[in-house]
Subunit: 777 residues, 2 copies
C-alpha cells in the first residue's frame, strides 16, 4: 500500500501534473510568456465596428465629449483614447480626429480641456511622410514619438495615442507587408497594456479608456491575426458600432456573433440612422439585453465640421457613456463579490471548506489557451494572466487558436444537433468520433466504441464488459443460472486510481478515499499487488521493488543507463521478467486457492503512470508481464487510459509505449480537449460478441441520457484530428518528445518526499510558476 | 416487485415518455405541425451573401450557365432557380435576371435552352405594378401566376421562380409591413418544399437547385425572422458570396460564422476581386477546408450586359459547380453508408445489436427544436422531419429559437472559458448556475450545490452525503473509529430507478438490470417497499395498493373525483395516512431488528413518478408519509428529481406537488436543456456541515475532471432562466398545466398492460406519431 502521505497528496498531485505535450520538443523550457497585468480600476472599452467606415471614431469622439464636457465640468475626468493600429497615416489619423474634434467642441461649449495627441511608432514610409528623421529598427518600425498638445491647468484631460501607424490606406496586414514593417501580436498587446497601466497612477479619478479597433471585427491586424482574435487575451468589454443601412441588420448581427464567438461581452450597439428602423429587429434579436442606440444621420458634406452633429447627438452619447459606466460598475461589483458568494453556495469536490478562506478563492474571468485571466480585488482591481500549470487536472488542451476553432464547433454542433438520443441512431459527430478512435487509440485491436460521460462511468462499463467476457470464456453463465455462488474480482495495482463512483472504487485498493465515512459501501473487490516502480535519482534511472520482492537485490536488475532501456521489449526475456511472472502466478494461484468460488475476472491497470495515485511510473515490464499472465488465463485486460491517453505521454496511446494491447480501454479527460465531459470504453470484437444473443437481456444494459451526445463527440473528433495533425500541433510526435516525457515523468515520480512536499505547497496557486520553472530547470 | 414485463419495458418506456411541458396549456393537442419531406436525390444549395449587392444573383446565373451550357450540352440537365423572397418587384427581379442572362448566354454560345420565369405570389401593390388583375387573400398576398418562357424541345432547361414578391425596394420585413402582406415562415418553407418536390418526378437526370436568399445572411425575412433562422429547418448546404472590398474579410468571416452558428454547412466562398487579395486571409481562416474562389471584377458600367464578364468567369463557375456537385455526392455517400457503419463501430447502450438490422437504424442529419431531420435512402434519398416524441429520454428541451440562443451561448462559453478547474475557483457560469438553482429548485431548503456529470453520479454523491449526515446524527463516527461493524442501507421503493453506476444500482431493488451477468457486484443494499400507485381507469382516479396492504379494501380510501384531491395535503390526517405510517414504521422496525448493526441511513425516492421504472404515479401521500417517518428518525431524505425536475411535471420542482422538501436532491437531464451532460446534488446546510472539520479527509472526496464545467453551467443557467421566463416559455406555469400533467401521468400509468404494449411497439420510430396522437386524444 502507498504511504498515507502519498494518498493524501493525490488531490494536490493532480493539480501539479503539468501537461507534457506542450513545450516538449525543446530540451530547455521556452521562456515563460509575458503575463499581462491589466488595471480594472476604471472602465476600458474596445470600440468595434460591423464594417469599415461606420463611424467608430465619431462614436469614440462622442463618448469622449460626453465624458469630458459635462456640466459642471469635472477637472478629475480623463479620457485615454488608444488607436493601436492606424493605416493611411498621416493623412488618416483617428487619434488626431478625436483630438481636434474635442478641441473644437471644448471651444464651442466653453469648457476648457487639456488635450494631447501622440503617435508612438510607425513604419518608415509613414515616418518619412511626416518628414520625421528616424531610423527603422529591424522589424521595420520606427520610434516616431510625435506629439501635439494644448494644456490647460486643472482642466479635464484627453490623451490620444496612436500606437502603430502605416502609410498605405489598406488593411493593416497588407500595409505591414508592403512597408516591410510588421508588429507581432504580443508586442501590440504589451504596448496596450503599458499605455493602460501608465494611467493607474493618474491623479484623475474619473478615467475612461477607449481602444479603437481598425476596420471590421474580423479585419486582420498587422500580423494577419484577425483583430477579434488578436485582442482576445484581454477580453475587454466592447461597444459595437453597427450598420444602419440596407443589409446592416445582417452585418451587425453577424459581427456581434463573431465577437460573442470569441468570448467578448458587448455593452451596447450604436449605429447611424438611415431611416430603416434597423433598431427594431436588432433589439428583438438582442432580447432587450444589450441596448441598441441610434445616432442622427451624419452630414455627408465633407466640408461639414460635424460640430452641430455632435451637439445633436449629445443625448445618445450621454446614454451610451452612462451605460458603459454602469456596465463596468456592475462587472466590478460582481467580480468583487464572487469569491465570497462562491464560498457560500458551492460545495467544491475534494475540498475542506473550513480551510478555504475567501482570499484563497481564485476568481477566473476567462481562459485564453493555457492562461487564465484572474481577477484580484486586492491588487487594486486588476486582471492578471496566469498559466494553468496543471492543465486543469490534465483535462485542458487547446491553445488559443484551437480554443477559437472549438468554440465555432460547439456553436455549430449545438445549432445542428442539440441533443440526439443514441441507441439505434447514427449522426455524424458520433460516427466520426468512433471512426477516429478506432483508427487512432484503438488501432489494431478495438472494434467497438461505447460512450459514456466520464472516466469513472467508462471504467464501470469496462468492468461489466470484462466480467461478462470472463464468464462466457469460463462457461460460468450456466453455473450462474444454476445459482452457484461465484465471486469475480479484479487484479489491480496498489496506487492505481480509476474514479470515484462505487464500481470504479471497488477496483481500487483501500485508501482514505474509500473509508467508511467517505463511502460506507466500499469493500475493495480485488487482488491488489504492489507494483515495482521506476524513479530517477541523481541522474540515474532506478527500479524500486516493493517489499514482497525483498529477496531480490534490485541493483542487479534495476539500473538503466538510458530511458529507452526501460521500455525495451528485450527485457521480456530477462531474469527479472521470469521473477515477475512467478510473482504474479503465485499471487493468482494463492488468491483463487482461498475459496473455490473466488475468481479474478479482469486485470485493470493504468499503463505506465499511476496518475492520481502519485505520478509514479510503474515498471512497464511488470505491466507487460501482468497482461501476459492474464491473457494466458483468459482474464480480460482493461487499460485505464483516462489520464495518459491522447498524447499526454508523447504518444497517442500508451499501447505504443507498453508494447501490448488490451481487450478493453477507457479514455476521457483530454478526449474533448477540456470542453465537455465525454468518455469512451473501447472493446475488441470478442468482448462485444460476449453480449450477443437473441435476448435484449443479454445486451449491456448500462447507459446515460447523454450517451454519445453530439457536443462531446464533435469536440472529440475535432480534438483527435487537431492533436494528430502535424500542421496544427507539431510538438508531439517526435522521438525526442517521448524522451522528454519520460524524463519528466521520472522526475515527478522520484520518491524524494521532501521535495514533493515543496512542490505541493498548500496554496498551489501561488506556486504554479515555481512548479513550472522547477520541472524544466 | 414490478412484474418482469414492466421492468423489461423500462427502456422502451423511457423512449415513450413525451415531454409534457410543451403543448400543455391547451386541453386539446395542437394540430401536428407540417412535417417536411425534402428530396435529396439531386443537389440543392442556398445562395447566401455577406451583405447586399455582392452579386448573389450573378453567382446563381454563373452556376446555372456553367451547368446548362457545358460542351457537349446535356439535354438531361436542368436548373431550378428559386427566389423565395423578392422585394423591389417588378423593377427588381432576380429570377428574371437569371432567366434573361441565360437566354443571352445560350444565344451567344449557340447552345439551345428551354427557359422560363414565373412569379407565384406577390403583394397587392406589386401585382398592381404588374397591372395584374388579381385579388389579395386575407394575408394580403395575391396569386400572381406570372410566367414567361421560351421552350426548345430536348434542350437543357432553366426554371426560374420567384415565390413571393413585394413592391418596395427595402428589407422584406418592412416591405411586408408597408404593403400589408405578410407570409409566415412555415408558409415560405412549405412553398419551397413544394417547388423542390415537384422536380423529383422530373425526367431530367442532372438537376441542380439553387435557392437564393435576400440581402445578407441575417437579414430579416417577411415575418421578421432572420433568414438564417427561417431556412434552418431544411439545413440546405450553402454557397457564401463574400466581400472582396476593404472590410470584406471581416464581413465574410462574420457572415460565415453566423451560418455555422445555425448549423449550416458551406461548400464554398466566392467573391468579386477588388485587388485586395482577401482570399489569402480567408483561406487561412478556413484552413483550406472550404474553397475560396475569386471572380474577376464586375464591370461597373450599367450599360454593360455582363455577357463578356460571364464568359471570362466561366472557369471559376465551372470550378464552383464541380465543388457543389462533389460536395453533394460526398454527403450522399456518407449518408448512405452511415447506418451500416454505425452497426459496425458503435456499441449502443441497452441494445441487443443482433436484433438491430441496418434498415432499422435512424440516420439523423440534424435537429431543429423538437424535430429531427431524418435521412432515408430507401425513400428515394430524402430528408424527412420527425417529431422527437420521447424528447430523447426526457432530456431534450429547446424550441428552435432557444436552440439558436443556446448555440450562441455554447460558442461564447467555449471561447471565454474552455475548461476551468472547479475546486477553490469561481467563474461566472458556475456561480450563476448555483445561484439560480438555490433560488429555484432548491428554494427554501437547499444551501449548497455539488456538481457532477450525470444523474447516476449525482445519486452516488447524494448517498455519500446522506450516510455521512446519518452517521454524524447518530454518533456513529466514533463507533466506526472503534471499528464496530455497521451496515447502512437505503429505504427505497420497488420500481424506482436511480442510474446505472454500481452505487446508484445498489439503491435499487433487484431487476434484470442488476443480474449477475449484467453486474456481478450488485447486492441491493436497501429496504425496498412496494409503493401504492394511482391510476386512471374509465375516467375515474383509483388507488392501487400492493399486496402487503391486502387487508385494506382500497375502495374505501382509493377513489378520487378530481386530480387535485390526490395531492391535497388534508389527506395527511386521513385514516389511510395512519395506515401508511404504521406500515412504514413496521418495516423499519423489522429491518433494524434483524441485525443490530443494520441501519437505514437514507431515504431515496423519485417524487410523484417512477420514470424509467414504468411511468407509474406513486401515491403522493405515501411519499409524504415516508419522508415524515424518516425525518422523525433522523434519516436523511433524498429526492431523485433527475427525471421530474425543471417543469417536466408542470412545476419547477416536485416539492411543489408533494408539499414537502428533502435534505438532498439530484437534478440532471433537462438541467442543460439537452446540450451537454451536467448534474447537481443540492443539499441543506446541515448536510454540508456534517463534512466540516479541520481535516481534509473529512471533506467529501468525490469529484470528476469536468466538475462544474463552464459549458454545462452556462447552458444550465440559460435554460433555467429561459424555462422560467413567461415571455420565452409561457406554457408552463398555469394551474391548468398541472392538471393536464396529472392527466397525462395517470393515463400513462394506467395498468392496462395490453394498451401499454400497443403503445410500445418494438419499432418505436414508426409509432411515435401514433403515441403522440393517442396521449392527447
Amino acid at each position: 500500500m502507498l504511504p498515507v502521505t502519498a494518498t493524501l497528496l493525490r488531490h494536490r498531485l493532480r493539480h501539479l501534473c503539468h501537461r507534457i505535450r506542450f513545450y516538449s520538443t525543446a530540451v530547455s523550457p521556452p521562456p515563460p510568456p509575458h503575463s499581462f497585468h491589466l488595471p480594472l480600476n476604471h472602465p476600458t472599452y474596445l470600440i468595434w465596428a460591423a464594417n469599415t467606415s461606420l463611424g467608430k471614431t465619431l462614436v469614440s469622439t462622442g463618448i469622449a465629449a460626453s465624458f469630458l464636457l459635462q456640466q459642471p465640468s469635472s477637472s478629475a475626468a480623463k479620457i485615454l483614447y488608444l488607436k493601436p493600429i492606424q493605416t493611411g497615416y498621416p493623412s488618416d489619423s483617428d487619434s488626431r480626429f478625436v483630438y481636434s474634434k474635442l478641441d473644437s467642441l471644448s471651444l464651442r461649449r466653453r469648457i476648457p480641456l487639456s488635450i494631447s495627441n501622440s503617435v508612438l511608432r510607425s513604419s518608415l514610409p509613414a515616418a518619412e511622410s511626416m518628414r520625421s528623421n528616424v531610423e527603422a529598427s529591424n522589424n521595420g518600425m520606427c520610434d516616431l514619438n510625435f506629439r501635439e498638445e494644448k494644456m490647460v491647468t486643472g482642466a479635464p484631460e484627453l490623451l490620444c495615442k496612436t500606437l502603430y501607424a502605416w502609410e498605405a490606406a489598406i488593411s493593416p496586414h497588407l500595409a505591414a507587408e508592403r512597408e516591410n514593417a510588421t508588429v507581432e501580436d504580443s508586442v501590440v498587446l504589451r504596448m496596450i497594456e503599458k499605455c493602460l497601466t501608465e494611467e493607474i497612477g493618474s491623479e484623475k479619478l474619473d478615467l475612461l479608456c477607449l481602444v479603437e479597433t481598425a476596420g471590421g471585427v474580423a479585419s486582420p491586424g498587422p500580423s494577419g491575426t484577425l483583430q477579434c482574435d488578436l485582442y482576445r487575451p484581454f477580453r475587454l468589454p466592447g461597444i459595437l458600432v453597427g450598420d444602419g443601412r440596407l443589409g446592416g441588420i445582417s452585418g451587425t448581427i453577424a459581427a456581434y456573433e463573431s465577437l460573442k464567438l470569441r468570448g467578448y461581452d458587448i455593452a451596447a450597439v450604436v449605429f447611424e440612422d438611415h431611416g430603416l428602423v434597423n433598431e427594431v429587429p436588432l433589439t428583438s434579436y438582442l432580447r432587450n439585453k444589450v441596448p441598441v442606440l441610434v445616432l442622427p444621420p451624419i452630414p455627408k458634406d465633407p466640408s461639414d465640421d460635424l460640430i452641430e452633429w455632435f451637439l445633436e447627438s449629445d443625448a445618445v452619447f450621454k446614454d451610451l457613456k452612462e451605460r458603459m459606466i454602469s456596465t463596468y460598475l456592475a462587472r466590478l461589483e460582481r467580480l468583487n463579490g464572487m469569491a465570497k458568494q462562491a464560498g457560500e453556495v458551492f460545495w467544491w469536490p475534494f475540498t475542506q471548506h473550513k480551510l478555504v478562506h475567501e482570499e484563497a478563492v481564485t476568481v477566473i474571468d476567462s481562459r485564453c489557451g493555457e492562461n487564465f485571466s484572474i481577477y484580484k480585488a486586492s491588487d487594486n482591481s486588476s486582471l492578471t494572466q496566469q498559466f494553468d500549470a496543471c492543465a486543469s487536472w490534465w483535462t485542458q488542451g487547446p491553445d488559443p487558436a484551437f480554443q477559437a476553432e472549438l468554440a465555432r464547433e460547439m456553436g455549430y454542433t449545438a445549432a445542428r444537433f442539440g441533443h440526439v438520443m443514441f441507441p439505434e441512431n447514427v449522426y455524424e459527430p458520433a460516427l466520426k468520433c468512433a471512426e477516429l478512435l478506432l483508427e487512432g487509440v484503438g488501432k489494431g485491436w478495438a472494434s467497438r466504441v461505447y460512450f459514456s460521460d466520464n472516466g469513472s462511468t467508462a471504467i464501470e462499463i469496462a468492468l461489466k464488459m470484462a466480467f461478462r467476457k470472463f464468464c462466457v470464456d469460463h462457461d460460468f453463465c450456466e453455473a450462474i443460472e444454476e445459482e452457484k455462488h461465484i465471486e469475480v474480482k479484479v487484479l489491480a495495482l496498489r496506487g492505481s486510481y480509476h474514479g470515484d463512483t462505487l464500481g470504479a472504487m471497488e477496483a481500487q485498493a483501500a485508501s482514505p478515499y474509500t473509508g467508511f465515512l467517505q463511502q460506507p459501501w466500499y469493500t475493495g473487490r480485488g487482488l491488489f499487488l504492489d507494483p515495482p516502480t521506476i524513479f530517477l535519482s541523481n541522474g540515474a534511472w532506478n527500479l524500486s521493488l516493493p517489499e514482497s520482492f525483498s529477496e531480490i537485490p534490485p541493483e542487479e536488475y534495476g539500473r538503466f543507463t538510458t530511458r529507452d532501456e526501460i521500455f525495451d521489449k528485450r527485457r521480456d526475456t530477462s531474469i527479472l521478467a521470469t521473477i515477475y511472472s512467478a510473482h504474479v502466478s503465485k499471487h493468482l494461484q494463492e488468491y483463487s486457492g482461498v475459496m473455490q468460488s473466488n475468481h479474478v475476472g479482469a486485470l485493470i491497470i493504468e499503463p505506465v503512470i499511476h496518475g492520481a495515485g502519485g505520478m509514479h511510473m510503474v515498471d512497464p515490464l511488470f505491466q507487460r508481464v501482468l497482461v501476459s499472465e492474464c491473457r494466458n488465463r483468459k482474464i480480460p485486460v482493461i487499460f485505464d487510459e483516462v489520464f495518459t491517453g491522447f498524447w499526454r505521454l508523447g504518444v497517442e496511446t500508451t499501447t505504443e509505449l507498453l508494447g501490448c494491447t488490451p481487450d478493453i480501454a477507457c479514455f476521457a479527460k483530454l478526449l474533448t480537449a477540456g470542453m465537455v465531459p465525454l468518455a469512451v470504453t473501447l472493446a475488441t470484437n470478442a468482448v462485444f460478441e460476449s453480449f450477443s444473443g437473441d435476448s435484449k437481456l443479454k445486451a449491456l444494459l448500462h447507459g446515460h441520457s447523454y450517451s454519445a451526445h453530439a457536443m462531446g463527440c464533435a469536440t472529440a473528433a475535432k480534438a483527435i484530428e487537431w492533436f494528430k495533425d502535424p500542421e496544427t500541433n507539431h510538438n508531439i510526435t517526435s522521438q525526442r518528445t517521448l524522451k522528454e516525457v519520460c524524463f519528466f515523468v521520472c522526475k515527478v515520480s522520484t520518491r524524494d518526499a521532501q521535495r514533493r512536499r515543496n512542490l505541493h505547497s498548500p496554496s498551489r496557486k501561488r506556486h504554479l510558476s515555481h512548479v513550472w520553472s522547477l520541472h524544466f530547470a
